[in-house]
C-alpha cells in the first residue's frame, strides 16, 4: 500500500500547457502515473502530447474522472487554482507553486479544512510533491532515486528530501510514499496529517521525518508521535547553524525570538523517544538499525 497517490491516482495538471507544467506532467506520466487531463483556461479542446486539455477543472473531472490535481500555475493565481480543484471535487491537491502570499494560503487552507468533510487534502504549496515508488509520482521528485519499500518519508524540504531518499535507496531501504509538505508558513497538510496516514498504512513500517527551522510543526509532531504512533519514527532537522531573524530560503524557515530553533526541535523529538540523525547519511544508518 501507499498513501495519497498510488495505482488509483487519476491526475489532472493545472497549468499543463506551461513550460514547467508540461515538463513535469510528462515526467510523471512517463513514470507510470495515470495522467488523464490538463487544465488551462482558454486552451480547452487542445492537447499536450495526447493528453486532453480543458478550460475548467470541473470539465476535466467530469470528462476523465480525475481525482488528483497537481497545481503548476503562477503564485498570483495559485490559491484560486487550489480552490477551483477543491470545488470540482478533487481529493488530493498537490500544489508545487512557490511564493504564494501567506494571506492567500491562510484563507485557502481555512476554507479547505473547514469545508472538505475529510474529503480534500492539500499538499504544499512550495513543495516537491508526492511519490509512491513504483506506483505514481505527482510532483517533481526524481523518480529514479526512489525504490519501492516500506519506509514512509515526510519532509518540509525538496532537495534535502532527494538527498535522504538517495541515502535510503543506497542502503537498500525502499519507500512506501515520500511526501513533501512544503516550506511555507501555512501548509495545506502538516507533519501530523501525514503521520496519521502512515500510521494507518499497512505498507509503511517506519517513518522518516525531515524538519527544518521555523514554526513549531516539529514540536507538535513530536507530541503526536509520543501519544499516537506505534510505528518507529526517525528524524532529521536542517538549520542548526542558521542565524536568528534571517529567512533561510523557505518563507517558513526563520528563527524568530527564541522559537523555531533546530536545537529546540531536536530536544522535543528526543523527549518523544525519536532518534535524531546528525546528517542525511546517518538517517539511513539509523533506519537500517531500527528495522533490524
Amino acid at each position: 500500500m501507499a498513501i495519497l497517490v498510488g495505482d488509483d491516482t487519476r491526475l489532472v495538471v493545472q497549468g499543463l500547457t506551461g513550460r514547467e507544467g508540461s515538463f513535469h506532467g510528462m515526467r510523471n506520466k512517463d513514470y507510470g502515473t495515470d495522467l488523464v487531463a490538463g487544465v488551462t483556461p482558454g486552451k480547452g479542446s487542445s492537447e499536450v502530447e495526447g493528453v486532453p486539455v480543458f478550460d475548467t477543472v470541473a470539465e476535466a473531472v467530469s470528462a476523465t474522472g480525475a481525482n488528483t490535481s497537481m497545481v503548476f500555475v503562477p503564485p498570483a493565481v495559485a490559491a484560486d487554482a487550489i480552490l477551483e480543484a477543491h470545488d470540482a471535487g478533487i481529493e488530493v491537491i498537490v500544489a508545487i507553486t512557490e511564493h504564494i502570499p501567506a494571506l492567500d494560503m491562510a484563507r485557502t487552507v481555512t476554507h479547505l479544512r473547514r469545508s472538505s468533510d475529510g474529503r480534500a487534502t492539500l499538499i504544499g504549496p512550495n513543495c516537491p510533491g508526492v511519490i509512491s515508488p513504483g506506483k505514481a509520482n505527482v510532483g517533481i521528485i526524481p523518480g529514479e532515486i526512489c525504490e519501492p519499500g516500506s519506509v514512509g518519508l515526510v519532509s518540509r524540504s525538496g532537495t534535502l528530501t532527494y538527498q535522504i531518499v538517495h541515502e535510503l535507496t543506497r542502503e537498500g531501504l525502499g519507500q512506501s510514499t515520500c511526501v513533501g509538505v512544503g516550506g511555507d508558513p501555512i501548509p495545506g497538510s502538516d507533519f501530523i496529517d501525514i503521520l496519521e496516514r502512515f500510521e494507518a498504512d499497512d505498507g509503511t513500517e517506519l517513518v522518516v521525518l525531515v524538519g527544518e527551522i521555523g514554526g513549531d510543526a516539529e514540536e507538535r509532531a513530536s507530541r503526536y508521535v509520543g501519544e499516537h504512533m506505534t510505528k518507529p519514527v526517525v528524524a532529521y532537522i536542517a538549520g542548526f547553524t542558521a542565524p536568528p531573524g534571517k529567512t533561510m530560503g523557505h518563507a517558513g524557515a526563520i528563527i524568530s525570538g527564541s522559537a523555531g530553533t533546530a536545537s529546540a526541535k531536536k530536544v522535543a523529538f528526543e523527549e518523544a523517544g525519536i532518534r535524531v540523525a546528525t546528517n542525511p547519511t546517518e538517517v539511513a544508518g539509523i533506519v537500517k538499525e531500527t528495522l533490524g
Binding site: 514547467e20 513535469h24 503564485p75 498570483a76 511564493h99 504564494i100 502570499p101 501567506a102 494571506l103 491562510a106 484563507r107 487552507v109 481555512t110 476554507h111 479544512r113 516537491p128 517533481i140 521528485i141 526524481p142 532515486i145 519532509s155 524540504s157 525538496g158 532537495t159 534535502l160 528530501t161 532527494y162 538527498q163 538517495h166 516550506g183 508558513p185 501555512i186 525531515v210 527544518e212 527551522i213 514554526g215 513549531d216 510543526a217 507538535r220 532529521y236 536542517a238 538549520g239 542548526f240 547553524t241 542558521a242 542565524p243 534571517k246 533561510m248 530560503g249 523557505h250 518563507a251 517558513g252 524557515a253 525570538g257 527564541s258 533546530a262 546528525t278 546528517n279 542525511p280 547519511t281
Partner: protein
C-alpha cells in the same frame, strides 16, 4: 521585508491609525528644520532595525530646533548593535500617560491570524511573557471572517487597558488589523501604543514586516525596499535572482534548495568549519546562475574554499558543470572549489568537469566527503 519605523508609521497613518507627526532627517540641519516645522519640542529617533535603540542612546528628546540638530549629530552615524544609523525620525513630543503593547501576526500552528495585547507596553513581549504571562490577552481572528468588534473589546478588556483609553483602543485595533491584511503584512507590532495626556491613543512605535511573496500586488514594495542597506555581495546576488545570506565564516557554500543548503551548512560546521554564507541557486538553475553564484561567493574576501553541493532534480548536473567551467574561465579564481554532484545528469556533469581540469577544482562523491574537503582546504591543508 522588515520596514524601518518611519516607513511602517507612514503606512499605518494612511490606514487611519493615529501616529505622532514626524519627519525623516539624514543631517543635523534637516533635523533642526524638521523640529521647527513640528513646533520645537521633539523626540529624535535612530532608524535602525534592531531592538534596544533607547538603551543604546538612539532615542533622545530635544526641547528646540537647535537641540534637535545637536542630538541628531550624535545619533546619525552611531553604531547600534552592528547597525549604522543613516537617518533619524524627528517626532513631535507628547505627554504620555500609559504605554501598552499590541500586535497582529500570522499564527502558524493554528493556520490563522492572532491579535495580542497587553497593558504592559514599552518592554519586549517575550519579557512580559516570561514575567507576567497573565497580562497578555490573545485572540484568534478567522482569515475568512476578519476582525469583529468583539475581538477588539476582548483584547482591550482582557488586557486591562485603562478605562480612559478603552474607547479609542477599541477603535484603533480594527484599523491595525485592516492595515495588516491590506498591506499583506506578516507582522504589525505597536510597542508602545500610548495613551496621551489629551486622552488620545496612538502608535508611538511600529514594527511592520511585509510578505515578500505578495510584492506582485503591491507596487510600493520596491520603493520601500530601496531604503534598505545590503552588502555588495547581497546586492549582486539579488540582481541575479540568487537567495544569498552572508555569514561570518570562511567556507563558501552553494547548493540547490533551501533545506539542502541549510543541511550543507550544518555538515560543514560539524566537520569543524565555519560557513561563509547561505546561497540557494533555486530549482532548475542553469549554467548562468551557477556561474553568477561562484562570482558572488568568490568576491567575498573571507572565503577560503567553496563547496558546491547539488542534488539534481529539476536542476541538471551538466548545466551545473557548464556554469562552473564558465566561471573558472571568465573569472580569476584562486579559491579551491569542491564539487559534489548527484541526481539528474550528474554523470555527464562529472565527465565535463574531468575534461576541463583546473587547479582550483576538486570533486567529492558524497556530501560528507565534500564538507570534509572544503573545511580542510579553508584551513590551508591540501587534501
Amino acid at each position: 521585508m522588515d520596514l524601518f519605523e518611519y516607513q511602517g508609521k507612514e503606512l499605518l497613518r494612511k490606514s487611519g491609525v493615529p501616529v505622532p507627526e514626524g519627519r525623516v532627517a539624514s543631517t543635523p540641519e534637516e533635523a533642526s528644520s524638521a523640529a521647527r516645522s513640528l513646533g520645537g519640542k521633539v523626540v529624535v529617533k535612530a532608524q535602525v532595525q534592531v531592538g534596544g535603540r533607547g538603551k543604546a542612546g538612539g532615542i533622545k528628546p530635544a526641547a528646540n530646533p537647535d537641540e534637535a540638530a545637536g542630538v541628531a549629530e550624535q545619533i546619525i552615524g552611531m553604531d547600534i548593535k552592528g547597525h549604522k544609523v543613516r537617518r533619524v525620525l524627528v517626532e513631535r513630543a507628547g505627554d504620555i500617560k500609559a504605554e501598552y503593547y499590541c500586535s497582529f501576526l500570522l499564527d502558524r500552528s493554528q493556520r490563522t491570524f492572532l491579535g495580542i495585547m497587553s497593558a504592559e507596553g514599552g518592554v519586549e513581549i517575550e519579557e512580559i511573557a516570561d514575567t507576567a504571562p497573565e497580562k497578555i490577552a490573545r485572540v484568534h481572528i478567522d482569515p475568512l471572517l476578519g476582525m469583529s468588534p468583539f475581538h477588539a473589546r476582548k483584547l482591550v478588556f482582557e488586557a486591562g487597558i485603562d478605562p480612559g483609553a478603552r474607547k479609542e483602543a477599541i477603535a484603533v485595533l480594527p484599523k491595525l488589523y485592516e492595515a495588516f491584511v491590506a498591506l499583506d503584512a506578516s507582522l504589525i507590532e505597536v510597542n508602545p501604543l500610548v495613551l496621551t495626556g489629551e486622552g488620545r491613543v496612538m502608535a508611538l512605535d511600529a514594527k511592520v514586516s511585509l510578505d515578500d511573496s505578495a510584492a506582485f500586488r503591491h507596487p510600493n514594495f520596491d520603493e520601500l525596499r530601496s531604503a534598505h542597506e545590503i552588502s555588495a555581495q547581497e546586492r549582486a546576488a539579488k540582481e541575479k535572482g540568487l537567495n544569498y545570506i552572508k555569514l561570518e565564516g570562511d567556507v563558501g557554500i552553494i547548493g540547490n534548495g533551501a533545506g539542502l543548503v541549510m543541511s550543507t551548512l550544518d555538515v560543514v560546521k560539524a566537520a569543524g568549519g565555519e560557513p561563509a554564507n547561505f546561497l540557494d541557486v533555486g530549482g532548475g538553475a542553469d549554467a548562468d546562475v551557477l556561474s553568477s553564484a561562484l562570482e558572488v561567493i568568490t568576491s567575498d574576501d573571507n572565503v577560503k574554499s567553496v563547496l558546491i553541493n547539488i542534488f539534481g532534480g529539476i536542476t541538471r548536473g551538466d548545466l551545473v558543470a557548464e556554469g562552473i567551467i564558465d566561471a573558472l574561465g571568465r573569472l580569476d579564481i584562486h579559491t579551491p572549489i569542491v564539487v559534489r554532484l548527484d541526481g539528474t545528469n550528474a554523470e555527464q556533469g562529472h565527465k565535463m568537469l574531468d575534461e576541463a581540469p583546473h587547479e582550483m577544482l576538486r570533486s567529492a562523491t558524497t556530501m560528507l566527503e565534500g564538507a570534509d574537503k572544503a573545511v580542510e582546504l579553508a584551513r590551508g591543508d591540501a587534501p
